[in-house]
Symmetry: C2
Subunit: 644 residues, 2 copies
């Protein structure tokens, strides 16, 4: 057991988003956020908006909506009623985690002061026992751990721990972390086998506890995660419906399919992957592999979004992937990214990096408006244009997504690279400078220069501290139809295979240059015919980006939905417009429009009278999906009909 004040076993400066240095079943170690400086380019812009607009405005809203006051009222600093749903503590913690990740990249004294101030507010509300929650107090105190299906007590603790760990890794300050550990100690004291049964209800504490174990080295923290993953739902009399919806309470290794609440499922899988990396339990790996295949073969949107149903915010049946009704909560795409980042760390397999990148650039990235002040809860793949559809909003009563998006952007440098015993893995491409070291301690600087995702060329300058033999694993994205790798101007030996890491083992010398080129020709992608809505429709992708059509960009169309892409394709015209939508590459393609408009045709008619004439030529304009609905309500679609 880690006594309060006892030194933590590692150097906080060297720890990444996940700290995998001692994880026996992780193939890759992380690289600390601070070791990667993302420079001018695609993500730099998004991260700047995040720090300068999004994070400050959200704290104001958290204050306005009483989320911080919920703590102050318990410490007696304010006399106000508690506000918001029972899980609001987690929204604040997630915001703090975002701040902590910002501080891992750069010193922002005002953010640091705010974090410390909030830590004061939070710890002043903590009970001497270690229990900490602003909802289960006073007249609801008797309900503690009595309604864990809905209570989110452990969920909130999970987010507290993640914020605390990130802050410790940012600053070495462990005040909040010690507070979190006190709550964990209390849980261990009162809960578990033969004691109060515990249930995360909304999985999250599982992954936080594994990360706490990685931070403290206290095996009980890992064991508590294992207990939660095995599930104690029988004693809590969970119903079959609970097991589905909560994705917790029964042994994780008995799961055979993804179902229930999408965010819960993604977080549970993330936690189980973390647990696997520490324990190597093969039953976990088999389950994870099965669930991942279930995801990518029938339950994931092309945007990397997950969750088809508003009702229960749920994953649906296989191939149930409606577009306009897609629920695809930002948090679920984030959970998908988290899970795949962990699977990637466990294996070094590019298939997981492909899903991670897909979710990041599309279903996650769409969640925050270009100006950083509006957020999607849902990220549908089609909009009718109804102005009543409030898709981007500054605030939600359940405001889980905004700070979740913030912490992803703030921690993003930590997802770019991985270190194995053989060398360095490059997962993501964007302008950045890596300053870190290989597993054998050799210092390495690596500089990426690229216009990715708008262009497919990435120049990498390799600068080891001294000439050194190691392998550079370069991700060849699964979406690339072809790729070329050159080292110091020479074609590298071997053919780069999309969907793998291309390994270059050599003695690297400072100044070596690698040049990657990926084919950026826009691609037409079809769905499995079992996805009912996508029959005879295509999605358009270019590089890692999924594209979409918005009504307001189309000229001469009464309705966006009258148009079809004219195939066979004579190709797309790509135009980079630096001033448009924050700088995007726009695509144009020949299309045809229905005459008369489809809405003038009957709802049902005999097949032999139902032929639609799409003959009028139109010019169709596509924008990256992540920029949708940044110019107000207008119809939008990702899956576009085509006319052969």
């Amino acid at each position: 057991m880690l006594a309060a004040g006892q030194a933590l076993p590692g150097d906080w400066r060297s720890q990444g988003v996940l700290h995998l240095e001692r994880s026996p079943h992780a193939k890759l170690r992380s690289v600390p956020v601070r070791a990667v400086r993302i420079t001018e380019g695609f993500w730099h812009k998004r991260r700047q908006v995040n720090v300068e607009r999004s994070i400050p405005t959200l704290l104001e809203l958290l204050e306005e909506n009483g989320i911080v006051d919920n703590f102050r009222r318990l410490s007696g600093r304010k006399q106000v009623p508690r506000r918001g749903p029972l899980y609001t503590d987690s929204d604040l913690y997630k915001w703090m985690e975002a701040v902590a990740f910002v501080l891992q990249s750069e010193d922002r004294p005002e953010l640091r002061a705010q974090f410390d101030q909030l830590t004061d507010e939070i710890l002043a509300a903590q009970e001497p026992s270690g229990y900490l929650n602003t909802y289960y107090v006073e007249e609801r105190k008797a309900l503690r751990f009595q309604e864990q299906q809905r209570g989110h007590e452990l969920y909130c603790l999970g987010h507290l721990l993640q914020a605390a760990i990130a802050y410790w890794r940012a600053t070495g300050n462990r005040r909040l972390l010690d507070g979190g550990i006190r709550f964990v100690e209390y849980l261990i004291e009162i809960g578990g086998h033969g004691k109060q049964p515990l249930l995360t209800g909304h999985p999250e504490l599982e992954l936080a506890l594994v990360e706490l174990y990685r931070t403290t080295g206290d095996r009980r923290h890992l064991e508590l995660a294992g207990y939660l993953l095995r599930g104690d739902g029988e004693r809590l009399k969970l119903t079959p419906r609970d097991y589905v919806y909560l994705f917790s309470g029964k042994p994780f290794v008995e799961r055979t399919k993804l179902e229930g609440h999408a965010v819960r499922a993604m977080y549970a899988c993330s936690g189980a992957t973390d647990y696997y990396m520490e324990t190597g339990d093969e039953a976990y790996w088999r389950t994870l592999e099965r669930l991942w295949r279930d995801l990518v073969s029938s339950k994931m949107y092309i945007t990397g979004g997950v969750g088809s149903r508003a009702q229960g915010e749920a994953i649906g049946e296989p191939y149930e992937l409606p577009n306009a009704l897609a629920y695809t909560e930002s948090c679920a795409a984030i959970g998908n990214m988290f899970w795949n980042a962990r699977l990637l760390a466990a294996t070094g397999e590019a298939r997981f990096a492909d899903v991670m990148e897909r979710a990041l650039y599309n279903g996650v990235n769409s969640g925050m408006s270009l100006d950083g002040t509006l957020y999607c809860y849902r990220n549908p793949l089609e909009l009718t244009g109804n102005p009543e559809d409030k898709i981007r909003n500054p605030w939600y009563t359940t405001t889980c997504c905004p700070p979740n998006l913030q912490r992803v952007l703030a921690s993003l440098p930590g997802y770019f690279y991985g270190i194995s015993s053989e060398g360095l893995y490059v997962h993501l491409y964007d302008n950045n400078v890596l300053d870190w070291k290989l597993q054998d301690g050799m210092a390495l600087r690596l500089t990426q220069k690229t216009s990715y995702p708008w262009e497919g060329t990435v120049e990498i300058l390799v600068e080891p501290a001294a000439a050194h033999a190691f392998t550079l694993f370069l991700r060849i994205p699964g979406w690339a139809r072809s790729a070329e790798v050159r080292v110091n101007g020479q074609a590298a030996a071997g053919k780069p295979q999309p969907g793998t890491y291309f390994a270059i083992r050599r003695e690297w010398r400072s100044g070596d240059r690698v040049r990657l080129s990926f084919d950026m020709t826009p691609r037409l992608v079809a769905s499995n015919p079992l996805v009912r809505e996508n029959t005879r429709r295509v999605a358009v992708e270019r590089g890692p980006l999924v594209y979409a059509m918005e009504g307001l960009d189309q000229k001469g169309l009464e309705s966006l939905f009258d148009a079809a892409l004219a195939l066979p394709s004579k190709g797309f015209a790509s135009e980079h417009r630096p001033e448009f939508l924050g700088g995007v590459t726009v695509l144009r393609h020949a299309g045809v429009a229905a005459e008369p408009p489809l809405a003038s045709l009957p709802l049902y008619q005999p097949l032999d009278q139902a032929a639609v004439r799409r003959t009028r030529k139109v010019d169709l304009v596509l924008i990256p999906y992540y920029t949708f609905h940044n110019r107000g309500p207008t119809p939008m679609q990702v899956w576009i009909p085509y006319e052969p």
Copy 2:
């Protein structure tokens, strides 16, 4: 005002489901249920199951679940807690209305005794003021009329009135009716302009009050309906979301589209049509016409079902008609039938009869299992076959649909005919004998002999009491590709147009015979391409029936969803199987199956690699949609892919 005990102004024996004899803006009068004897045939079988299995078993369940005890506890006859959701009273009333309609057709002393006994139980729970509701009592008494958005107080009264009116029309016994009138008097006393604002919340009382007005002649009953239809939501501080969901509270004539809760919308439109028939208010008619076009052009399933979303049990956006996720509550299809029956009475226009028949034979008829003991709440157009999908159940906590289906079947004879000043309208076809009179008093007997809906020939024997000139309006269904009408063996003058009434004006003599023939060739129907899921799919119809495929009937298919109809069609083989599914005509068609199975293909792949090979020949079997899921869980679909 109608004093208690004062004679009601009409003869109860002559009143139909709607009593339109004095309705100035009804084109057609109703024919009493008792005047039409449905004989051996399609509906006879369903109605027999209804009376012999469905109605008796549901009373047992209503008792078991405490729905009747909810009244007994108020009269002190039982000391039990109240059970069920706040609207359970209406479930009992609806069951009683079904019984009352049965009693209009035939004498069933045990049912009559049960009705009278239940009337005792109900009236014993009525307060001296007239107020009657088993939920808003005791500690909830203070909430009366204080939460009308959810309270269903007026909704329950509506169903009480409908049951009471039907029983009076069955037996001349007005005990329950007088109880209902006492509650109405109480409402008029305490509520309305300048007094307690009233809101149906769930429309229903509107149509019941118009029917009460038709029964009592008391204009205040109509005025109260008008008040409810105009809406008093401002004083109740309804939100925009309330107006959408509740489809009440704001002026009905301000509605421009169907939206919100499907059953509420259908009932509101039914009540507004009733109100129009009494008042002739053109603003109502304009609104009704607009809403009806909205329904049939973009919001109605091919089964006549309405309501696309589980969330809010709601009508969706135009063309939002998902198949597997279709909510299509039985009650909404019934509401659609009710509304169109009223529009038909108002106008005599066949377009409304077409929708009424479509809903009746398909989306309503599917709601009760063939054995009469299981009910659909949802009537989806596709099922994955997941055994966890509990589609047909004996009981629902909200058990609105079962008695609703029962009252439709019990009252069905009342929907077959209409009387205008010119003669007789024949709306529906099945074996039956009409014994009634024309508007001028001439007695008329009319006998239909047919195997409809399995065959397209209907023989009609016309027997006026004396030779008499009048018009026989014969409905030529809109679905008929062609039709033929012969009178006494001679082709009738004029070409019968599908979707109209074919008028034969002549001096009819007893023994005249009309022979109708409708083309029963199975039809392939396509959707508007804006219905996303139905692209490149067809539905199959034969006569008034929509067909479906169930997995268990298909040989040599790994998955139902691998199959496609092979087009161009070489036609369907029709086979009538009297012992199968209660006697149905089964259809067979050539199909092709995907090789390899679709589920083995990737979820997304480049369009140029995504061609699906459907080459293996299979024989596809279709059954009438209304019989789906009567043999346990198996995949089902109405909209079938085709391979051109």
